[in-house]
């Protein structure tokens, strides 16, 4: 399980658990929202699958654009589900299959040789699955004569003997639809020609049939992975059962998910690290220039888990007893503070999203010395950090830190340390 927030719990003091009503109902609603989010993600992936099938059957600029649109439309539901990743081991163990970043794009398809400082044609720049029916990877011989979901999640994955999902998932599909973003800090996303999927002599960059095979295999794999996860949250599913098994542990899962995504993952790894490293592609949805949406919907997912209310892709609403109501019962002011901070984060995220949609893309914001961009990103980072402090206070006030402590009473005693 990811533990980016759990460490914060270590500093809180165990207090007697107040008697709170309806924890089971809160957890039930939490699981219902998860189910709805993964079902919406799955529905979006199936629409993407249909669009990909059409592109491969009848390649055209319009068909490629339709597939890109379907990909973009599939992301909001998935991003809102990410808050479930932290605190729910079953999600975290699986997540790398569908949303891993960075991507080993040079392993998948052709890449521009200007990246990475290579100055001339290099034979290794074309050693990718699309162009090669067989090659060695990580010391193993790979038979890629037929590109299937089994190849992607089997041989390619196992060659590294590692959970290095660098060639599957949303971002692999994104790369195959958009291609590399060669615009650096300038405006513009990846601009793969539709003819990369054209038949016969119209095919550009070679191996259009195999590129289509890869795209289809990756999309089919995404659909089956999301089907599996949606089932884990349905009645009787393992993820739902795990959450419901222990009420306090379940409430801890919600808070761990909110805190970990807010702090270490989103404020830290996904946003501040990009600012520090000034990498235009050190962002989540880099090929499509969709990173502002990725961040926005991640933050929205944190908020809707706290409020216990999620608006589905079709506009219907799943809502019920919430963590907010539990907190309000113990400390109404703390609940008001949490809601206020979640709203403040959404305001910062909205500013960032609107700026990006007006043409100030996330990769442009990341350019070194771009003060306006840094201010937009750091405004959101600061808001996420600030909301984390309140989440920590909620952990303490609900007294739900069920993590076992062993022989550590002395830690809070200053006399226990040599000064």
């Amino acid at each position: 399980m990811k533990t980016k927030f759990a460490l914060a719990l270590g500093t809180s003091i165990l207090v007697a658990l107040p008697a709170l009503a309806d924890k089971a109902a809160v957890l039930d609603n939490y699981a219902d929202i998860a189910q709805a989010k993964y079902e919406d993600s799955l529905a979006g992936a199936k629409r993407l699958q249909a669009a990909v099938d059409s592109l491969i059957a009848n390649p055209s600029a319009e068909a490629l654009q339709a597939a890109k649109d379907a990909w973009l439309a599939s992301r909001p539901a998935y991003q809102q589900s990410e808050v479930y990743r932290f605190g729910n081991a079953i999600v975290d163990d699986w997540e790398g299959k569908v949303n891993a970043w960075p991507l080993d794009e040079g392993l998948i398809d052709y890449v521009d040789a200007s990246y990475g400082g290579a100055t001339d044609e290099n034979e290794y720049a074309v050693l990718n699955v699309v162009a090669n029916a067989s090659f060695t990877l990580a010391g193993a011989d790979i038979d890629a004569s037929s590109i299937t979901p089994d190849l992607l999640e089997g041989a390619l994955h196992e060659a590294d003997g590692v959970e290095a999902n660098v060639a599957t998932g949303y971002h692999a599909i994104e790369f195959l639809l958009w291609g590399q973003d060669l615009n650096g800090f300038e405006y513009g996303a990846g601009n793969r020609p539709w003819t990369d999927y054209a038949m016969g002599d119209a095919c550009t960059n070679g191996n259009c049939d195999r590129r289509g095979e890869y795209l289809k295999a990756a999309t089919d794999l995404l659909v089956s992975d999301l089907e599996w996860m949606a089932a884990q949250w349905a009645e009787g599913g393992d993820a739902r059962s795990a959450v419901m098994a222990d009420e306090d542990a379940g409430i801890t899962s919600i808070l761990t998910g909110m805190g970990s995504l807010s702090y270490g993952e989103q404020a830290g790894e996904r946003m501040k690290l990009g600012v520090l490293l000034n990498d235009p592609e050190e962002e989540h949805d880099c090929f499509a220039d969709n990173t502002h949406n990725s961040h926005f919907y991640d933050a929205l997912g944190i908020r809707n888990v706290y409020l216990g209310s999620y608006t589905r892709a079709d506009g219907s609403v799943v809502s019920g007893p919430s963590l907010a109501s539990l907190v309000a019962e113990v400390d109404p002011a703390l609940d008001a503070e949490m809601q206020s901070k979640l709203n403040a984060t959404m305001f910062e995220m909205l500013e960032l999203k609107l700026a990006a949609e007006k043409g100030f893309s996330y990769d442009m914001m990341l350019e070194r010395g771009n003060a306006a961009g840094e201010a937009l990103i750091m405004g959101a980072v600061d808001a996420l950090v600030d909301q984390t402090r309140t989440i920590e206070r909620i952990v303490a006030s609900l007294g739900v830190d069920t993590i076992e402590f062993e022989g550590s009473d002395s830690l809070d005693n200053p006399d226990a340390v040599f000064q």
Binding site: T136, G264, E281
Partner: protein
């Protein structure tokens, strides 16, 4: 840097003064000097106890204020120091992100995450340092070798190029380099793999007990770049646990050198030699502290060396984008490189390297368990009376470091002297490194050792994980520790059990 070079010359000119603390550069020039009163307090608090009836003051907190609660779950080694503040915790998270980053091959859209290999042992730091715990040898012929690497060395004529006395001057294998990389990016054959064969050795103990030690033999296989050098020495090494490293980095050099006794002038059979290696950061010879033979002088250089040797990532300290590839490995040498202007023309820039170093420096050390338990206290007495503390030094006080509040002025209990000791032919890899000869190893820290099973799910110890339990690890001690081992073999079973119980409480 002139004064540091002068220190190097002093090593050559006056061997007797080699270990004089003021002659070897300390990696913390900004440390606040100790007052005489402080020095006296530190001497008093770090003196080994002679009272075993109850725990010592501060004993529970192995890392002082940097100690963290001992967690029951596998994440015991994943938390930041207990005294880190909220803002710096975010830096810790960024460092964790660097530690978990999956490096990808170059060229790639990302500027900050590419440059893997071309030959490598792992794609990320975390891949080997699972849960920040100790690595292990492969459990079967097909098991992953990822938390154990095979270092390669060929003995060479001694040189005084760096001005370091007694430097053993090993060099890399001319074909395979300093480490066997068993993975490669697409199209790049891996260098090869290795096999381990174990032979069981029976060790009779007092009171009719016995133990079995497994003696390993290593061999290379599937070498893809031709024969290795005929005099190649293999040095298998498991990934080390990651806790408290910044605190070890912050021990004053003088305090470590104070325990060195290269000529065994006190006649206790234990020498303790300082490793001295070149610091690429300071451009001078420095005390080696990190690695199984203390081959790296600072944590930052240790981190950079691991990026370079294990993942194939260049930095300002190790500049080759092709990692450990040798001149004959031409395909590897000409493969695309992930360095960029934005990152100091290296694959990982100083910002990323510093974040990773901060993370590695600031991982918390779990508190002791059961310090007041009667058997633990009995075992502690056995540990002290048997002479284990001659090398496994219980206590140090770190430098006062204004810029490193988590490591500053803490009483720590690492149970290591960070010096080199001859451990006898049984443990020898016959592979020299710096001043360490083929029988010498750096005393490993023992803090957290009792949490190995909880954190890593196994109980393999020593540099190559050959010991399957703490008792086996003790019984492998030889050389300078031969007498101590013999006492463990001959002591009453109850004392031996108590000794292990004490180690488990660390």
């Amino acid at each position: 840097m002139t004064h540091r070079f002068a220190a190097a010359l002093a090593l050559l000119a006056a061997p007797a003064l080699v270990f004089a603390a003021d002659r070897l550069a300390d990696p913390h020039p900004t440390a606040v000097p100790r007052t005489a009163a402080e020095a006296a307090r530190i001497a008093a608090v770090t003196a080994p106890t002679t009272e075993f009836g109850k725990p010592e003051a501060f004993e529970t907190n192995s890392a002082g204020a940097a100690t963290i609660p001992a967690r029951a779950a596998a994440r015991g080694f994943l938390q930041p120091a207990g005294n880190i503040d909220f803002d710096r915790r975010l830096e810790f998270e960024l460092g964790n992100a660097m530690f978990e980053k999956l490096w990808v091959s170059s060229p790639s859209s990302t500027l900050a995450s590419d440059g893997l290999g071309p030959l490598f042992n792992a794609r990320s730091c975390r891949r080997c340092h699972v849960a920040n715990g100790r690595g292990h040898p492969p459990l079967s012929g097909d098991d992953s070798r990822v938390s154990m690497v095979m270092r390669l060395a060929v003995p060479a004529p001694q040189t005084t190029a760096l001005g370091i006395l007694d430097d053993q001057a090993a060099r890399p294998d001319p074909t395979y380099g300093a480490q066997l990389q068993d993975l490669g990016i697409a199209g790049m054959p891996a260098e090869g793999s290795f096999d381990i064969a174990y032979e069981e050795i029976r060790v009779p103990l007092s009171e009719g007990e016995e133990a079995w030690l497994r003696n390993p033999t290593y061999s290379l296989r599937e070498l893809n770049y031709g024969d290795a050098h005929p005099d190649l020495r293999l040095s298998p090494r498991i990934a080390q646990q990651m806790i408290g490293l910044g605190l070890l980095d912050a021990i004053p050099t003088a305090d470590i050198l104070a325990n060195a006794d290269p000529d065994d002038s006190n006649g206790d059979g234990i020498s303790g030699r300082a490793q001295i290696v070149q610091s690429h950061e300071y451009g001078a010879p420095m005390l080696g502290r990190f690695g199984h033979k203390a081959g790296q002088p600072t944590l930052r250089q240790q981190v950079a060396a691991a990026f370079h040797g294990d993942i194939g990532i260049s930095s300002t300290l190790f500049s080759e984008g092709y990692g450990d590839c040798m001149p004959g490995q031409t395909r590897c040498r000409i493969a695309p490189d992930g360095s960029t202007e934005h990152h100091d023309n290296r694959e990982i820039g100083d910002i990323g390297l510093d974040l990773t170093t901060f993370y590695a420096a600031t991982i918390g050390v779990p508190a002791r368990r059961d310090v007041g338990d009667a058997e633990v206290l009995r075992g502690k007495a056995v540990f002290y009376e048997t002479g284990c503390i001659s090398c496994h030094t219980p206590k140090f006080v770190t430098h006062r470091l204004p810029d490193q509040p988590e490591q500053s002025f803490q009483l720590i209990w690492p149970y290591t002297d960070l010096l080199l000791h001859d451990m006898g032919p049984g443990l020898a890899d016959n592979s020299p490194e710096g001043r360490a000869n083929g029988q010498e190893w750096r005393t490993p820290p023992l803090w957290g050792i009792g949490l190995t099973a909880q954190v890593s799910g196994h109980s393999f110890f020593l540099h190559d994980g050959r010991a399957r339990s703490l008792l086996e690890a003790v019984l492998w001690h030889g050389g300078e520790a031969e007498a101590q081992k013999t006492r463990v073999i001959e002591m009453p079973k109850a004392d031996r059990d108590a000794l292990i119980r004490f180690l488990e409480s660390l």
